[in-house]
Each structure stands twice: as C-alpha cells, then as structure tokens.
C-alpha cells in the first residue's frame, strides 16, 4: 500500500476481537457486485490470462469467441518450430464447451449429430457434425463420452439455442461450461515426453482420440489425445482455478524438452496445415448465413463426413440422404499457390472466371508456400486453378494471379498422430 492510499486510522479498523461472537464483518464482502455492463468489459479473459500474458513478449492480442487471447507470444516462427520440432503449449479455453448429461444423453446426442455414436466408448472422442432440418451445417466439433450418461461437446461457436430446441422430449441437461473449464493444448512431437516429464505415467499408451483422468502435481486433469495440429498432441481439461498452476507446472517440466508457449496465430496456422475448417471462418453456420448460398452441406465441407444413414432419426437426416446422392455443387479444398513469398490470397479463378473464395490462407513453413482453404465450385476443380494474391511493396499495393493446385493431402499430416505407443523421444 502506498502512503496516499493508507488510512491514518486503519490500525483501529483492522483489529478484530476474536473472542467476540458479534465480530465485525466488512459488509462490502457480502454486497452483490452489480454485473458489469457488456460494453465496458472490453477485455474478457480466460482463466489462463495471467500466465499467458506473463509470457507475452509482443503484446499482440486477438479476439477469439469474445475472449482476449494472445495472438503471438514470442515469435510466430519460433512458436511454429517448437510445434513441429518439439512441443507447444497454448490456451484454448475460449472454445465453447457443453456438458450434456442425463438418462437420455446418448439418445439426444444421436439425434443431434450425424455420426452414429452407438460404438463410442467412455473416455474416447470423435469428430461430429450437426445440421439443421434441411441438411445445412450448423457446426462441427469434438464429442467426448465422459461417462455412461455424460458427454462433452467442444465447438468453435455457441449452439445452445439449437441444442435446447433439439432436446425437447429427451431427459437431458445441457450446461455451457466454457467459462469454468480451462483447456490447455499441448501439441508437437515431444508432447508425450513433456507429459511424462510432468509426472504422468504411461501417457504414451493413450490411443489417439482416447482420454483419461490423471493426477498432475496433485491436480485432477482430464487428458485426451486430441488436437487440430496434424501431429501428436494432447488436450488437458482442468478446473479454472487449477489451470494456471497446471500451465506453470507443464512449462517448468517441458522447457528442457523445448516446450514453448504459443498464441492463437499458431493454432490457426496449424489447423490450416492440417486441413481443419473452422466454423465462422471457413464456413458459416446455417443460422448465421444471411445469403442462403453461404450455408453449406457436410458433403461440401468434408471429403467423407461422418453421416450415418443407418441410424434412426437424426437432425437433417432425411435431407442429407437426398444431398448425399447428388454431387456437391462446391467443395472446401486445400490449395497450394505457386510462388515462394508470403502473400494474402483472396479469390479462386478458373479460366479467368471467379469460381470460389479463399476462406483462410497463410504461408506454410512446412510446404514453403502459401496454402489456403477455399470454397470452390465443384465443376472447376478438375481444371486449372489460379488465385489472386496481393501484397504491399512500400506504399504500392501489388495484385497478381498465381497458379494453384488442390492439395491431395494436408500440408502437415504426421504419422505420429496415430502411432501407438506415442513416441517419447524425437
């Protein structure tokens, strides 16, 4: 306390008579804090904000689902080399997390998503897609089966209204646990080694998409072998209060292995290299698509989307059956552009005609080229493609057209992501 804020008579106030049952209690402790109006809270932070901001050497922040998260903590190149060479740790808490529980949890989830979940075992995860009645995609995400009657759905955007509407008639509870459940993403070839070093035994034996409760430095943590990096990686789900300690513990133990903290930009680059579309960026939820052409079907967005026509009624099922038989009119594809300099890509051309739009693009260090996810008319995919590229040169703005090819394989797709047991050394 500085001299200006110290009260001269403070010592009297602070004295509490422990023998007095009518002990003076500061009433301010029990006053209900008026909730902050939304417009004043310009910085909405995750439970890990203090530890990640302590790592920031760039002061570059970004908005992810309304949360302020670091864009880059040190240097994107360094963070990338850690991710692909050793391991990187990032705060993914802004992802939307729903807990679905109750007697009818399985039946409800079967109704909600297009995949058949009957074979989904406890402590495993799968990629799921959910559609509205006309078969247009609302969102996709990772679904964990936490227990017999308990699931966790992790998505990029909020879907509470649709889930509650779909839950009519099912005995289930749905809770948004985004704010109370922290998510640490540990990705990279040495991520298993880092966990091993942090005191988690037998982590290398965890199969891809499997999960397990473990004890890390006295904290209960749910660890799953998941992540959108196209490589070996784990996601750690912990209580908001434990999360900062977990972060520090992992950083302490992992640093000797080359573990580095990373920001949101690296997550975007990694998922682009691995070819994962992001809701709200590479496709719009059917409920957000004002122009009806902006909504997509699963067959446009994924090469072989998990749609189980065999199972009983599910949302969008009938429409999807009709859609599956016709070839999609456009497709979300990964493109690689000619040219070796980083540029920003915008539209996709074929024979001089615009046939699609780039939704995400970045310079991929793995390919040494600019890569992109783009929505392209299906008929144009067999022909020659080109993309418009732009960059600044001094004050001049240069626009060029570069040749482009569809990537048959993601730019980064390491066999390590599926190896069992997971490698503990490079």
């Amino acid at each position: 306390m500085t001299p200006d804020t110290a009260h001269p008579n403070e010592s009297q106030d602070a004295e509490i008579d422990l023998g007095n049952e009518q002990a003076a209690v500061d009433p301010a402790l029990f006053e209900e804090m008026p909730p902050e109006p939304p417009f004043t809270r310009t910085v909405h932070t995750t439970p890990l904000h203090l530890v990640t901001s302590a790592e920031s050497r760039t002061n570059r922040w970004t908005d992810w689902n309304g949360y302020t998260v670091p864009e880059v903590l040190t240097d994107l190149g360094d963070e990338y080399r850690a991710l692909r060479g050793t391991a990187a740790l990032a705060d993914h808490s802004p992802l939307v997390k729903y807990r679905i529980f109750g007697r009818d949890a399985l039946a409800f989830m079967q109704r909600l998503v297009t995949r058949d979940l009957a074979a989904l075992e406890v402590d495993t995860a799968v990629h799921v897609i959910f559609c509205e009645g006309s078969g247009l995609v609302l969102g996709d995400g990772l679904l964990f089966r936490l227990g017999d009657d308990e699931y966790r759905l992790v998505t990029e955007e909020t879907h509470l209204a649709w889930m509650m509407e779909s839950a009519q008639g099912f005995r289930v509870g749905i809770a948004d646990v985004t704010a109370t459940l922290a998510l640490l993403s540990l990705q990279g070839p040495l991520s298993a080694a880092c966990l091993n070093e942090a005191g988690v035994a037998n982590m290398d034996g965890l199969a891809p998409l499997a999960a397990r409760w473990v004890d890390i430095a006295g904290m209960p943590v749910y660890v799953s072998r998941t992540g959108a990096s196209g490589d070996l990686g784990y996601e750690l789900w912990a209580d908001a209060e434990d999360a900062p300690h977990l972060w520090r513990h992992l950083m302490d133990k992992g640093a000797p292995h080359g573990l580095r903290p990373a920001g949101f930009a690296l997550r975007e680059l990694a998922r682009l290299e691995a070819g994962f579309p992001r809701g709200g960026k590479d496709y719009l939820s059917a409920f957000a698509a004002v122009a009806s052409g902006d909504a997509s079907t699963p067959f446009e967005l994924w090469r072989s989307p998990p749609v189980a026509f065999g199972k009983t009624v599910f949302n969008g099922g009938r429409a999807l059956r009709a859609l599956a038989s016709a070839p999609p009119r456009r497709r979300l594809v990964a493109l690689v552009a000619d040219g070796l300099e980083p540029v920003s890509l915008s539209s996709v051309l074929s024979g001089g005609r615009m046939v699609g739009s780039v939704t995400t693009s970045a310079f991929s260090p793995a390919r040494g080229a600019n890569i992109a996810l783009a929505l392209v008319e299906a008929v144009a995919l067999n022909g020659e493609l080109a993309v418009t590229a732009s960059r600044h040169e001094g004050l001049a703005f240069r626009e060029t057209v570069l040749g482009a090819r569809v990537l048959p394989e993601p730019a980064w797709n390491s066999a390590r992501s599926l190896v069992l047991p997971a490698p503990l050394r490079p």
């Binding site: 908005d63 309304g66 909020t158 209204a161 957000a288």
Partner: protein, 534 residues
C-alpha cells in the same frame, strides 16, 4: 398568370424530396406551404429560447443512401450520425440495450438468457433475409407484392431442387412474418420476456397494431431495413441527421433553391383547378391562381382528394374509396426542455446506446393492454414511451448544459370514449409521461424548463395530417405496396391527370424516408420523357 412546370403542395420531407428531384431535372418547381417555415412534421420548433427540436416528429431516421446521394445532399451540408440502436427501460428497473458489436450484443442478451443470446444469431439472419426481400419492393415504384414478394419465391422454390438447399421454409417464413402477431413470432426464437419486450417495443412504435395483434410481426423487420448484412453481427444502428430533421429540411431546401426551384411559405392551397379533364393549377387562400403542368400533393390521401377538390369533379367511386382508407392516430408527442442532463441511475454509466433513444416499456402483455385501451378509446394508463434526447449527440440543439427531450407516447386515441380530450385529460397525460420519465430518471421533473403535449388532434389541426396518423395510413399489408393508398391506385399516379401524390400515403409509405417523394418525382419525370434514377 404565374405558371410552373410543377407545383408541390406541402413543404414536408417528401414534398421537398420530390421538388428537389424535379428541380434538378430542370423543371421550374414551386413549393407551397401554409406554414411559415418548411419541414411539415419535421419542422424545427423552439420550445424555449435556445432549445430546438422537431415539434411533431421524433427526430430519428435517415434518408436512404440512394436518395441522399442522388440529390447530392452531403454537398449541401447534410451529415448523419450513426448511433447505437437504443435502450429499453422496464418498469422493474432492468434495461436491455442494443449494441452494434455482435459479441457485446450477445453478452447483453446473455444477461437475460444464454439460450436467447445464441438464438439471436438466427433471429438476425431471418430479419436480414426478410429485409433483403423487402428492399427491392420498397426501393422503386409500387409493385404488386403478389409478383414481387411471393413471385420471386416461386423462382427460388423451383431452383431449390437443383441447388439442394433452402427454400421450403422460405414461404413459411414469409407467411409467418406477414400474418403472425409479433408476440408469437418472437416466441419462436426467444424465451426471455425482457428480450421479447425489447424487440416488440421498438417495432410497435407508430403502429396501429398491438404486439399480440395478428400481422404485427411484420413491424419487427423495420429496424433492419437499412442494415447491411455484413455488419458485425449485433443489433441494427439508429441513423439520425446531424442537427436534427431541421438539417435535413435545410439541405433539401438548399438543393431546390440551387437548382432554380422556389419555395413560398404562408401560401395555403385551398383548391385545385380542373379543366379539360386534367389538373391545371392551384388556387391559394388569398384567391391567387397559379397554373402548373403538374401538381404534386404532399398531403395525406384524404386531405389531398377530399379537401382540395370539389367532390363532384372527382371520378366516380373515388370519394368512397378514399374515405375507406384507414388513418388513425396512435401517438401523442411530448416535447420537453431541460436545464440539466437527466441522469439514468438504472443504466450503466456511459451507456452508448442512450444516444440511439430510450424506450419506456412494460412486458408484452402490458403493451397489448395499452393497445386495448386505445381501441376502447380510454386515456392511456400505461403507455409505451419512446424518448430521443437528440442534444446528447448534437449539443448545438440546446443551450450549454441543457437538453431537449423528444417523446412519442403510444397508444393515444384521437378522441376518448367520453368525448374529445379535455384540458384536464391532456394535463394528466403530461403528468403520466413525466411520472414515467421520473421513474427512470429521478428528479427530472425539477429540471423542466418547458413542456408541451401534442395530441393526435393537435397534429391534425396544425399540420393537417388526418387523424394525426404519423404513418399517413395504416401500414398493414392490405394498404401497402400496390394497395397503397388503396387498390387501383398503387403509387404516385392518381386517377386525375397531372395530379400526383408524393406523401407517405403512397408507396412505400413511412417505411422509407423520402421514398414517396422520390417515387412521385420519377413517375412525373417518366411521363415527361425524362428518365431520372431516383
């Protein structure tokens, strides 16, 4: 005798827009108005020395960009303020604000319901889709909605098979919007009463419908009409001319004068000369006659036909049809000058949405009761009050430290069940509005410098607007588009040659500011062989 290519009766906003288009197209134009200054309901009024506000209009709303740009208004000094879209204060002390930023607005809704915050995404999509469907119908001359509104749908339905998407729901969406009560429509999206009341209150202002009255859902689209779809995902913004509606009137007047047009104030048109079965000119109250190639009326449809012509000169059946057009007053205007900025302790400090206006409302059933009172011609007990404090964003409108407060009070009947409004009833209404204001801004009554209450009858007497109906005719589907003001006369062209209607009694009504004036001008110019884009 003095002669002009066109005479515009009434220097209201639409009359001025029409005159500006005609003058710019090279016609000699004369605008006549019985008032001493142009503006009609938008005319500026000094309620106390230095306190300026539009006397009859609320003062928000902006011209669509195509009209503002088409008339080169920015060069004549017109600027618009884009404000956050307003806040609703409920009687229980809670509030719901509009924010343009999608993330902030969703957090605002989440204070009431997390589910509704999410549902807003779909609501916004549907409102923007409906607004985009309406926009082409509202932009040009009147078209048959059976062709436009529902016909375009047929094309999309047949396309839908091939592009494997959308459509079957579209027809249902459109029918829902044009037939359902706002309350039922909102129930399909939201669970929170506050969220629903907030959206309904904004929609019901100026409407003769209640939130539980069939067809009132169509009003929900209004705030979205000028919103572009790629904005950040929040609530629509409120557009206001800088300097109030008076600035809009000044800019339009300046365009007319700069293009060689003329305005004559204190010149009341009492008669329209018909000869050779076409309109030939006007007669003023002082007996002066002015000849014109065309006469455009900015008066409402009833006043245009029933008071400017000898009824025997009108085509058969016209008097009857004009008489049947429904025009009903629903709102009273309360103007207040304050010598201090009112505080709103229920609102968070610095709430940016206040600039876009303040609504005092109850839940939807209370609004519906207020509407039912109006139907029974009861004096309002629990009115819906829409408040704009234009001096918050534009301090030039009041002396230093002071504020002007403009309020529309709804639902207020033209006449009470017991007879005309008595002075006591009028004072009681003023007191009721002050009490409601004091409910959200305690102590505001101590800062009142001047206050006036204008009932629908006052609007009729002073401005000449039949029934004091700010909408110039009910805006239900049966009186919209090709049916406005009545079937058989869809648009500006009347059954009388050389006589055009340029008031919001004609398409597109009050839904597009200046739209009726622009349509009348383009219709006339089209007749004269001068194609001008309006």
């Amino acid at each position: 005798m003095e002669r002009h290519d066109a005479i515009v009766i009434g220097a209201g906003l639409n009359g001025l827009v029409a005159a500006a288009y005609l003058a710019r197209a090279g016609l000699s134009v004369l605008v006549l108005d019985r008032a001493s200054a142009p503006g009609g309901i938008a005319a500026e009024h000094e309620i106390a020395p230095g306190y300026r506000l539009p006397r009859f209009a609320l003062g928000s709303g902006g011209l669509p960009p195509r009209i503002a740009a088409g008339l080169d208004l920015p060069r004549h000094g017109l600027r618009f303020i884009r404000a956050e879209g307003g806040v609703t204060c409920f009687q229980d002390g809670s509030y719901h604000a509009n924010y343009r930023d999608g993330v902030v607005h969703r957090r605002e809704i989440a204070r009431f319901s997390r589910r509704d915050a999410d549902a807003f995404t779909r609501y916004r999509r549907d409102m923007l889709r409906a607004a985009r469907g309406l926009a082409p119908l509202l932009a040009g001359p009147a078209r048959n909605p059976a062709k436009g509104l529902f016909g375009g749908l047929r094309a999309r339905l047949s396309l839908a098979d091939s592009i494997a998407a959308i459509a079957p729901g579209d027809l249902r969406d459109m029918i829902r919007l044009w037939t359902l009560p706002a309350s039922d429509f909102l129930d399909a999206y939201f669970e929170s009463d506050a969220v629903k009341a907030h959206l309904a209150a904004a929609a019901m202002m100026g409407s003769t419908l209640g939130p539980c009255t069939p067809a009132s859902a169509s009003r929900l689209v209004l705030p979205w009409l000028s919103e572009s779809g790629d904005a950040s995902g929040g609530a629509p913004e409120t557009l206001m001319p800088f300097g109030g509606p008076a600035a809009l009137v000044d800019a339009l007047t300046s365009v007319i004068l700069a293009s060689g047009g003329r305005l004559r104030m204190e010149a009341e048109v009492t008669d329209i000369r018909i000869g050779d079965r076409k309109v030939q000119g006007v007669v003023l109250a002082n007996g002066e006659e002015i000849a014109a190639g065309a006469v455009l009326s900015g008066l409402d449809v009833k006043r245009s036909f029933l008071s400017l012509f000898q009824w025997k000169d009108l085509p058969e059946g016209l008097v009857e049809r004009v008489g049947r057009v429904r025009m009903k007053g629903v709102a009273a205007k309360v103007n207040i000058a304050l010598d201090a900025t009112p505080g709103f302790p229920g609102l968070p400090e610095g709430c940016p949405s206040l600039g876009g206006g303040l609504r005092l409302a109850g839940p939807i059933p209370a609004m519906e009761r207020a509407w039912a009172d109006w139907r029974e011609r009861m004096p309002p007990r629990d009115p819906l009050v829409e408040v704009l404090i234009p001096s918050l964003l534009d301090p030039s409108l009041a002396p230093q430290g002071g504020q002007v407060l403009s309020a529309l009070v709804q639902y207020v009947p033209e006449a009470l069940h017991e007879g005309p409004w008595s002075p006591e009833r009028r004072d009681a209404l003023g007191d009721l509005v002050m009490a409601r204001l004091a409910g959200v801004s305690p102590g505001i009554e101590r800062h009142v410098v001047a206050l006036e209450v204008l009932l629908p009858n006052d609007v009729e007497n002073e401005i000449g607007l039949t029934g004091g109906d700010y909408a110039y005719g009910e805006t239900t589907l049966d009186q919209m588009f090709a049916n406005r003001p009545f079937p058989g006369m869809g648009g500006a062209e009347t059954p009388l040659r050389n006589f055009y209607l340029c008031s919001p009694s004609a398409h597109p009504g009050p839904l597009v500011m200046g739209g009726a004036g622009a349509n009348a001008a383009s219709t006339l110019l089209g007749r004269l062989g001068k194609a001008v884009r309006t």
